[in-house]
């Protein structure tokens, strides 16, 4: 058991650290200053461009598409050093971390040549257009519909939701139904959608905190060329699974990337002599603190598996469950200790308290994650399903009948 870098890893870390040291002053501030959102985003784009030129973005992308061709250990090294340097990381985590790898795996040579470079340098930011108001956990139940015209182009109608970064994204990777007359997983196709195409409307979606970090996106007769298809017509589900695998990986390696740690929840209690001597406070802090420490080592275990060529399985989903629940326990404890001041809308605690209920569903609801792990890891049988083998159009008709 060795928590240290190998000599090669140590050398890589030193190079990353040296570059960050030298260019730290060029980094934009981490939090948006009040007001000028556009200027902030421009600065974050420029910073991602610099990181990309230095080889600190797309670390695991293959060299032939502009990446570094390195492994997840190096990616985590970069994440750690960026965090330690106190500078922001890349702006387009979803594009570079999840959508780019999907295009690399399933896209045509033309798509790779056209999209990956600008994505890596944040000249074009991307968004993920998968979830819909009526299809989240049951993603294959999406209803956005792309119809093939006689000229080979597609016409897209429908609505997506929970779309991070859509308000400044250049492109979206969109899952649409192209054949409703086959079972639901089979009639899906993945598309590249230019966000400035006529018929695309983006609306901010305000959350509990009042801030709008997500969007709803509407598509009204949006025309897409034949070459917008990624991974082949009717293969959308397989293509989407690649994205979801990278999503799991991003979440699995990033529990501390969300900003929650044992240390963060300890600080306000340490500052309060009465609280730090209170048995109940200590019990709660000890339990959630131990959970966060466990997560750190679960991350190391995931890295160990990756380094030996294994792909992390659905069990890394459990790390997300622990993260969210420990963070909920932590914010609840802090609010008990600090009192109503913790609920001041401008405080970090009020923000976290508002953010966490939604995080319970983000990236897979807790219930779905527990189903997936129960079935794939423990080998328990699935619940009986009423949608197997039934054409999607028929299924929808049944659903309408049942709720009529």
């Amino acid at each position: 058991m060795d928590l240290n870098d190998t000599p090669e890893q140590a050398e890589y870390r030193a190079r990353v650290r040296a570059w960050l040291e030298e260019h730290r002053d060029e980094a934009p501030p981490d939090r948006p200053p009040d007001g000028d959102e556009d200027a902030y985003l421009a600065a974050r784009r420029a910073w991602q461009g610099k990181l990309a030129e230095a080889g600190l973005a797309g670390v695991v992308w293959p060299k032939e598409v502009g990446g570094q061709g390195l492994g997840p250990i190096e990616q985590v090294t970069v994440n750690q050093e960026i965090s330690a340097a106190g500078v922001p990381g890349i702006l387009d985590v979803i594009g570079v971390g999840m959508l780019g790898p999907t295009i690399i795996a399933h896209g045509s040579d033309e798509q790779k040549a056209r999209y990956l470079g600008p994505m890596l340098h944040a000249d074009e930011v991307w968004c993920q257009l998968f979830s819909e108001p009526a299809a989240g956990s049951d993603l294959a139940g999406i209803q956005s519909r792309a119809k093939l015209g006689e000229d080979g182009s597609w016409t897209l109608n429908g609505q997506k939701v929970w779309t991070t970064n859509a308000h400044f994204a250049s492109y979206g990777l969109l899952l649409a139904r192209t054949d409703p007359d086959v079972p639901k997983h089979k009639g899906l196709t993945m598309f590249v959608v230019p966000m400035d195409a006529p018929g695309v409307t983006v609306r901010g979606l305000r959350q509990i905190s009042g801030e709008a970090e997500f969007n709803e996106v509407f598509f009204d007769d949006v025309r897409l060329d034949a070459d917008a298809v990624v991974g082949g017509v009717g293969n959308g589900w397989g293509t989407a699974l690649t994205t979801l695998m990278y999503e799991r990986l991003t979440i699995g390696l990033g529990s501390e990337g969300l900003g929650y740690s044992a240390e963060r929840f300890t600080q306000p209690i340490a500052a309060d002599p009465e609280a730090r001597g209170n048995a109940e406070v200590r019990k709660r802090l000890g339990e959630l603190g131990a959970d966060f420490i466990a997560l750190r080592f679960t991350g190391y275990r995931t890295l160990t598996a990756l380094a030996s060529g294994q792909i992390p399985g659905p069990e890394s989903a459990l790390a997300k469950v622990t993260t969210v629940n420990a963070a909920v326990a932590g914010t609840d404890l802090i609010a008990d200790v600090i009192g109503p001041e913790a609920l001041d809308e401008s405080s970090e605690w009020a923000y976290a308290i508002s953010f966490l209920p939604g995080l319970k569903s983000a990236g897979g609801t807790e219930e779905i994650l527990r189903n997936t792990v129960g079935e794939r890891v423990l080998g328990l049988p699935p619940e009986p399903r009423l949608d197997k083998g039934i054409p999607f159009s028929e299924l929808r008709a049944k659903e309408r009948e049942a709720t009529a």
């Binding site: 058991m1 060795d2 928590l3 240290n4 870098d5 890893q9 250990i73 044992a262 240390e263 300890t266 600080q267 209690i269 340490a270 730090r276 001597g277 048995a279 406070v281 200590r282 019990k283 802090l285 000890g286 339990e287 603190g289 131990a290 959970d291 420490i293 466990a294 997560l295 750190r296 080592f297 679960t298 190391y300 275990r301 890295l303 160990t304 380094a307 030996s308 069990e315 459990l318 469950v321 622990t322 219930e367 527990r370 189903n371 792990v373 129960g374 079935e375 890891v377 423990l378 080998g379 328990l380 049988p381 699935p382 619940e383 009986p384």
Partner: protein, 353 residues
């Protein structure tokens, strides 16, 4: 970064599982509740070299690391084996640190040792503590009785941690053997008359022995959780209600996944404790306490859920599930208790803040 087990560690674990599989330890646990003698597993432990795992090679030990000992404890925990390592290993480690004369016999297992531990000072409590009645907060000193000392009955050498972390060696102490709820666990009340020989170790060593015991108990708990989860999952696949396996119901499935989640968190913390035990002594108090805390929670959940997934049959005398439940109930109260470990996690975090 590499947390994978070495080939030697894989071998150690497989050998432990193999050796233990030749004994009917689980049914022996039930028979012992009705007064039967437990099988003597010490000769097996001696043959496997476990007594000297943490003793230096020049003194006849294997000079392995805490994590290796924890791997053995996981295997013992899996089958409820009453091998008195929890008391012996920290004691043998201290005797080796202190250059005690008779350590070779302890390393070989010819003589058995047990630690009478005390909890090191924390952020709120400057004293070494362990309560005589409840197993917590005793002010350790000679001339009194130490209660609930793990593996004390039958031990030839007692390593007693006293006030200020001073350690002494006591041979021939009076030990009153007690059985409490889990008959696999050797327990005793030890009368200390102050006639020990000082052992030349630091208070830091005495503290490490306490945390080593926490880590070993965490590892043993992880083993029991593994077995409970396997039992419950197996049953959930075989037992049918309303035309389908009960494991297909989310109400059952999610509980089993919760056990897996707690188990995986516990396993992660075993790595942390193992790493700290070998390479990060400053972090050992936090790492070992966190492992004990989370593994204790996992043990409670796993043993209860195992019973409830089995339904009524799981709560009967003939079933194995209650034996693991008994193990959990006692383990969670020994050596400072799961609650004490959780409090220590908070204390370490607060002290570092």
């Amino acid at each position: 970064m590499n947390l994978s087990l070495s080939d030697e560690q894989e071998l150690l674990r497989e050998a432990a599982r193999g050796a233990l599989s030749r004994h009917e330890t689980v049914s022996a646990a039930r028979d012992a509740l009705e007064g039967a003698a437990l099988p003597d597993l010490w000769p097996m432990a001696v043959e496997a070299g476990w007594p000297g795992l943490l003793v230096g090679e020049e003194r006849g030990g294997a000079a392995l690391a805490p994590f290796d000992a924890m791997l053995v404890m996981v295997e013992c925990g899996r089958v409820l084996a009453g091998v008195p390592l929890l008391g012996h290993l920290p004691a043998a480690w201290l005797l080796d640190r202190g250059g005690w004369d008779g350590v070779e016999a302890v390393a070989s297992g010819e003589r058995r040792a047990a630690i009478v531990p005390a909890q090191p000072p924390g952020d709120l409590d400057p004293g070494w503590t362990w309560d005589p009645e409840r197993g917590k907060a005793r002010v350790p000193a000679g001339g009194e009785t130490a209660h609930w000392v793990v593996d004390a009955p039958g031990a030839d050498v007692l390593v007693v941690v006293g006030a200020d972390g001073a350690v002494s060696v006591v041979e021939g102490a009076t030990v009153q053997a007690v059985t409490r709820y889990d008959a696999t666990r050797g327990l005793g009340h030890v009368t200390l008359d102050g006639a020990g020989t000082p052992l030349d170790v630091s208070a830091q060593d005495a503290a490490s022995a306490w945390y080593l015991a926490q880590a070993l108990l965490a590892a043993e708990s992880v083993g029991a959780v593994e077995t409970c989860l396997e039992m419950a999952v197996q049953y959930a696949k075989e037992r049918f209600t309303f035309g389908r396996a009960i494991g297909s119901y989310q109400a059952v499935k999610h509980q089993l996944v919760e056990v897996l989640r707690l188990l995986e968190n516990s396993r992660s913390l075993l790595y942390y404790a193992g790493w700290a035990g070998e390479s990060g002594p400053d972090e050992l108090p936090l790492a070992a306490s966190a492992a004990r805390s989370v593994a204790g929670r996992a043990l409670d959940a796993a043993t209860r859920i195992n019973i409830s997934v089995h339904g009524g049959i799981g709560a009967t005398w003939e079933h194995d599930a209650p034996l693991f439940f008994r193990r959990a109930q006692l383990s969670r109260r020994l050596v400072g208790g799961t609650g004490g470990a959780t409090d220590r996690v908070a204390g370490e975090l607060l002290a570092a803040a």
